[in-house]
């Protein structure tokens, strides 16, 4: 392994390749900030450039830089504007945006950058050590386990079921699941619930819904009730993470790197589920008083999804490099790029072309490091976005939400759907319905139904639930994740009532 490391280092540390990483990170960060352009589309756009370079190691290094840059750029828009452009960063806005609202935008971005760095780097270490062994684990997971994994991911909604809001959180999740059934499913080839409207044939767009649920109501609230985004003192303060905060997030980062990495290894699960699960798990194991903070600007709640997201992205390289199976959209595009460069990923890659395998791993380390070095000094300037006068900022937020929905689908009807849902979401927000569960349900719903249907067909019934121990185990975990917090809350309430009686 040491020899491999040295080969990788030698390849990665040429002037040309270092410049590639820097260029890739910058391009990724800036384009990734536009909602609607996620890592997948940016990598797809960069592929012609990468292929024309001809050197597979340099091309991969460039693409890795773009990839990590795009993930960080996506977090930026969800933290600053509550406009998550990628499903993987939705969970980052749960706590990141409240932090920005409290005037801690700089700190939120710093936490995100550091957590992403740690997640990506630890993920790369795990990849280096476990890649060959893990390839067989990835194949153990069947559709039944994927279904169970999605159910565990849904348990993240428990975090939004605050005091007396359980039914509201549940109905919003169901509404999200219902919306996911609109359109043509992959397994049935049958349009469902489209009401004969052609534009609904492909279902609702994720970005349209994300913008309508998060960004648009926020912008409307800012119009209705003007207030400064800059915080009370009118300036962006607290860029540094204090020692206590670092101590608080260190275990979170450690746990989530490992958990996120292993979820990322499973083909098809990916960064989105890793981030939701990371959020749910961290909220559940946090002490009582910190649990209250989740959703209101807890740095743990921001660090968990950011770390898990990046670690999972790294983990998704395991099936790609060792089996030649792309586990996510992004790795599928990378696979295309590799094949165009005359490299065939698979079990022989490590033996036949070790310099490429190791160059990929080293490029991950370098990509993460360069991203951190480039972005930490940039953060005060990025956070200044919020200092733009409101008369200019709000039209631009509205414009970017519209653009994000338009670029993805190239369909003007999508914009009308966006405005319509935005108005509905604002009404729901007035009535104190949590909106995040709807989006979680929508994202996970499609995958959940597909995997459920597939395992039903394989087992000719629902027997898979008790015949596959791993499925059963995951479902039990999901039930515990939902029930435990409400049980704890009930016990706490009972205790509080008891004290009152005693007085």
């Amino acid at each position: 392994m040491l020899e491999g490391l040295l080969i990788g280092l030698q390849t990665a540390f040429s002037i040309q390749n270092l410049l590639m990483v820097i260029a890739g990170c910058l391009i990724g960060t800036f384009i990734g900030m536009l909602p609607g352009l996620g890592p997948m589309s940016i990598i797809a756009i960069m592929i012609p450039v990468a292929i024309s370079m001809g050197d597979p190691s340099a091309a991969l290094i460039l693409l890795a830089g773009v990839y990590y840059g795009a993930i960080f750029g996506g977090s930026t828009s969800s933290i600053l504007l509550n406009a998550p452009g990628v499903a993987g960063t939705v969970a980052s806005s749960f706590d990141g945006y409240p932090m920005a609202r409290q005037g801690k935008a700089g700190k939120a971005l710093t936490v995100a950058a550091v957590a992403s760095f740690a997640g990506g780097t630890l993920g790369a270490v795990l990849l280096m050590v476990f890649a060959p062994a893990l390839s067989s684990v990835a194949l153990l997971f069947h559709s039944a386990e994927y279904f169970a994994l999605m159910v565990v991911g849904l348990s993240a909604i428990a975090a939004f079921a605050g005091s007396g809001q359980v039914a509201k959180a549940i109905i919003m999740t169901i509404l999200g699941l219902i919306m996911a059934t609109v359109g043509e499913g992959a397994l049935f080839n049958l349009p469902r619930f489209t009401m004969g409207i052609m534009d609904l044939q492909s279902g609702f767009g994720f970005i349209t819904l994300a913008m309508a649920m998060f960004a648009l109501p926020e912008a409307l609230f800012l119009v209705l009730k003007p207030k400064d985004l800059k915080g009370d003192e009118g300036e962006i303060k607290d860029l540094r993470i204090t020692k206590d905060e670092a101590k608080a997030i260190a275990p979170v980062v450690g746990r989530q790197s490992v958990q996120g990495f292993f979820i990322g290894v499973l083909p098809g699960a990916g960064a989105t589920i890793a981030s939701f699960l990371g959020y749910a798990v961290e909220r559940n194991i946090a002490p009582k008083e910190e649990q209250e903070e989740f959703g209101k600007g807890s740095i743990k709640g921001l660090a968990a999804p950011e770390t898990a997201n990046n670690a999972a992205c790294t983990g998704s390289f395991v099936p790609l490099l060792t089996l030649g199976i792309p586990g996510s959209g992004t790795t599928a595009i990378l696979l295309g790029a590799l094949i165009a460069l005359n490299v065939t990923p698979g079990p022989r890659l490590m033996i036949d072309e070790p310099q490429i395998f190791w160059a990929v791993i080293m490029s991950m380390f370098i990509g993460n490091l360069v991203l951190l070095i480039l972005n930490l000094p940039l953060i005060p300037y990025i956070a200044k976005v919020l200092a733009i006068p409101r008369n200019y900022l709000i039209p631009f937020i509205l414009f970017f939400t519209l653009m994000g929905a338009y670029i993805g689908q190239n369909n003007a009807t999508e914009l009308l759907i966006l405005v319509g849902f935005g108005i509905c979401a604002t009404a729901l927000k007035f009535a104190d319905y949590p909106l995040a569960p709807l989006l979680i349900g929508f994202i996970l719903g499609g995958m959940m139904e597909d995997n459920f249907a597939r395992s039903m067909q394989l087992y000719d019934g629902i027997a898979f639930i008790w015949e596959r121990p791993m499925t059963l185990g995951l479902l039990v975990v999901a039930v515990l994740l939902v029930l435990l917090p409400s049980y704890r809350a009930r016990r706490a309430r009972a205790r509080a009532a008891g004290v009152a009686d005693g007085d």
Binding site: L220, R390, I407, A431, D432, Y433
Partner: protein, 160 residues
């Protein structure tokens, strides 16, 4: 009745309609070979509709007494806020959506950005105009030229 229970009533209606569509209208058109499947396209929606009806009924009947907390915006006094601005902006967004294709990206976007800040009370034309025009041009250049996603820049009659 408070707003959240009115919304629960609407959601109940949505779930009932959805449930009707799932239980009574979908299975008839199913081809015979698919009827042998253990799972039908309507299976998942059926389960969801039942769960949705239960959950919205619970909220509607107020079984769960939620604590009233200070809302960020009190919807009962919407008139106290800048409601006019918000509604005008929403109308502007709809107009923008309808104009984007026929009028072209450059004109409709600059108009959207200028009118948007105008509605919010900005009157400094010497700042507004350049900002909107430069931003429009920059976004168009990035999306069309750099990223290669086609957006019609000008109205159709100019060959855009």
């Amino acid at each position: 009745m408070a707003l959240d229970r009115w919304i629960a009533l609407i959601l109940l209606g949505i779930c009932l309609t959805y449930g009707y569509a799932a239980w009574f209208t979908m299975d008839g058109a199913l081809p015979p070979f698919m009827q042998r499947n253990p799972i039908w396209p309507s299976t998942f929606p059926k389960v969801l509709s039942v769960l949705g009806i239960i959950a919205s009924t619970i909220i509607l009947l107020g079984f769960e007494n939620s604590e009233l907390k200070e809302a960020e915006i009190d919807y009962r006094r919407l008139g106290d806020y800048h409601l006019g601005q918000a509604v005008t902006l929403l109308v502007l967004m709809v107009v923008y959506a309808l104009c984007l294709r026929p009028v072209g990206f450059l004109i409709s976007t600059s108009a959207f950005l200028i009118l948007g800040s105008f509605i919010l009370g900005e009157r400094k034309w010497h700042v507004m105009l350049p900002v909107a025009l430069i931003a429009t041009g920059a976004v168009w250049y990035l999306v069309q030229e750099v990223l290669g996603i086609y957006m019609r820049p000008l109205p159709g009659i100019f060959g855009g």
